[in-house]
């Protein structure tokens, strides 16, 4: 525990000054140094919260699927961070933020403090290069971990690890470069403050690709093609996961200032209100449909609201946030029902929450931006820019994913065998049950 202060070294100098009769003189360097220190503290706080979202995703995905696959999903969420943090360090960060073409970053692999000049797209933030990497890597991990839920209960573990590499080195960083890394989209004025599109929709549309290549779980659709419910094995765990994700979102959104700015509290508020409004509208909407307070849909609603506000959290008013939330809360329910209808099996609703609501939320900034949004008299321009961004990112994420995953499927196989799926991935991939002391039931009964 040795202290290598940056602000304090300067203030020590300051303390020394009085001895030279210079009391009260400030060298003009202390304040920026302090501001940088504060920015760094803030960004690390935020990044650490976002890191914890890995646990949240793991809980939600595991809770919403069956007991026989519970360890497997936890392990996928652990390993995609493990692999993602390494491959984003070696390659992804440079592809996303490094100087290069408008389409891809080409320098700054294996970032170190000395390389600050390789990332001119990050010059606007005062935090050191590795702090920026730390904040960014947890976002990359979010993007990849979204796929884990969509592919749950049937994807081969080894192939999933390769997918983690692909998402964090190619799929996510390339469109990320367009919007945040100084690429062609940032030039257009595209607004995606904290990543409804750049992070969430990329994860969501890549999820659609993985689900299409994988196909539905055994038993998800009956002979008549009707969607069967495959209830999640631990709803309290899934709910805890949503609380953890919501908690982490206070790093995701306010932290995307990457500086201790005046508006971080405002962003926390838009984030809160949109999440709440969406949970509420999803709740009411399903209640009207089914006369039941559906837990799963309400939880998806909350996440949809948080995803939906992520793009505009710094640009919309609290009331705008509420309206955005109300919209995506209903949308996510419609979307989940739609994908069930068209026989696309997404066990946790990842495509709906992150893809559909991520893209929609980004679009809605074009309406609700208090400066340039259509509803605030800003005209249609911003909406068009948002649409361009949303569609190009979605196209890239889905297109590159489906090509890469198809190739993976041919080369090493994407899906476990029927037998393995039947037994459950905990045994077939990891050789151990998640809950060996409990009697796991194959017969549901209710009073």
């Amino acid at each position: 525990m040795k202290k290598i202060a940056f602000a304090s070294l300067l203030t020590l100098g300051l303390f020394a000054l009085p001895a030279f009769g210079l009391e009260g003189k400030v060298s003009g360097q202390e304040i920026p140094a302090l501001q940088y220190a504060l920015d760094t503290v803030w960004v690390i706080f935020a990044a650490v919260l976002v890191f914890f979202m890995q646990a949240g995703f793991a809980m939600v995905e595991s809770g919403f699927t069956r007991a026989k696959n519970a360890s497997n999903i936890m392990m996928k969420n652990m390993m995609d961070f493990v692999i993602g943090s390494l491959s984003f360090y070696v390659i992804g960060f440079a592809v996303m933020f490094g100087n290069g073409t408008p389409f891809i970053g080409l320098e700054g692999f294996l970032p170190t403090a000395a390389q600050a000049d390789s990332y001119s797209s990050l010059a606007w933030t005062s935090v050191p290069v590795l702090t920026a990497y730390f904040f960014q890597v947890v976002f990359a991990a979010t993007a990849v971990t979204i796929l884990s839920g969509a592919a749950a209960e049937r994807i081969k573990f080894s192939t999933y690890l390769i997918i983690s590499v692909l998402v964090t080195t190619v799929i996510y960083p390339v469109s990320g470069h367009w919007a945040w890394g100084g690429g062609w989209l940032s030039g257009l004025g595209f607004v995606d403050f904290a990543g409804s599109s750049v992070v969430h929709s990329v994860g969501g549309w890549a999820s659609l690709a993985v689900v299409l290549v994988l196909g539905a779980r055994l038993g998800k659709f009956n002979a008549a093609g009707k969607a069967m419910a495959i209830p999640g094995h631990n709803i309290p765990m899934a709910t805890l996961g949503v609380f953890i994700l919501w908690f982490g979102w206070y790093g995701f959104n306010p932290g995307s200032t990457m500086a201790a700015t005046v508006n971080i509290g405002d962003i926390a508020v838009t984030t809160t209100l949109a999440g709440a409004a969406a949970a509420l509208s999803a709740f009411i909407f399903t209640f009207m449909l089914y006369k039941r307070a559906d837990v799963g849909m309400t939880l998806n609603g909350a996440l949809a609201g948080l995803v939906g506000i992520t793009a505009g959290c710094a640009n919309v008013s609290p009331l705008g946030a509420i309206v955005i939330g109300l919209i995506v809360g209903i949308l996510v329910v419609v979307s989940v029902l739609f994908f069930d209808k068209v026989k696309i099996d997404d066990p946790v609703g990842a495509i709906s929450v992150h893809g559909v609501c991520g893209s929609t939320g980004t679009l809605l900034v074009g309406l609700f931006d208090t400066q340039k949004g259509l509803l605030y008299g800003g005209g249609i321009d911003m909406l068009i820019t948002q649409a361009i961004g949303v569609f190009s990112i979605a196209l890239w994420a889905f297109g590159s994913s489906i090509v890469l995953f198809k190739i993976l499927d041919m080369v090493m196989g994407l899906r476990v065998t029927e037998e393995e799926e039947h037994v459950g991935l905990d045994y077939s991939e990891h050789g151990a049950a998640a809950y060996p002391d409990f009697n796991i039931s194959s017969v549901s009964a209710r009073n």
């Binding site: 969607a227 419910a229 069930d340 009964a445 209710r446 009073n447």
Partner: protein
């Protein structure tokens, strides 16, 4: 010797046990089972998809006893388990050929 197998509603276990204790029947084995019968399961909802649950939780009580105790035991179970609603359950009676108490090796009625 006979074996009674009674399928009852779970929340009636306490009452049935007490009723049998009153008859000095102090041994029984209980299994949690799932029943299918006139009392139907339910259609439920999960994330917008309906699913049918066909089974109902039940308790199976098994009692080995001497022939003389049979009728009283059956009556006691009926009295304690009855709610007059569908799903009250069944009592099955089998012939028991032999009974051994593992601790002592005793056999027959002495082993009960």
């Amino acid at each position: 010797m006979k074996k009674i197998e009674a399928i009852i509603k779970p929340y009636k276990l306490e009452a049935v046990k007490d009723a049998l204790e009153k008859l000095d029947i102090l041994g029984m084995t209980v299994t949690e089972v799932k029943g299918f019968g006139r009392q139907k399961g339910h259609s439920e909802l999960y994330r917008g998809a309906e699913y049918k649950i066909d089974f109902v939780p039940k308790i199976k009580i098994e009692i080995a006893l001497v022939d003389e105790d049979l009728d009283a035991a059956v009556e006691a179970i009926i009295a304690a388990a009855k709610t007059d609603k569908v799903g009250d359950g069944k009592i099955f009676v089998y012939s028991l050929e032999e009974c051994v108490k593992i601790r002592t090796g005793e056999r027959g009625a002495a082993a009960l």
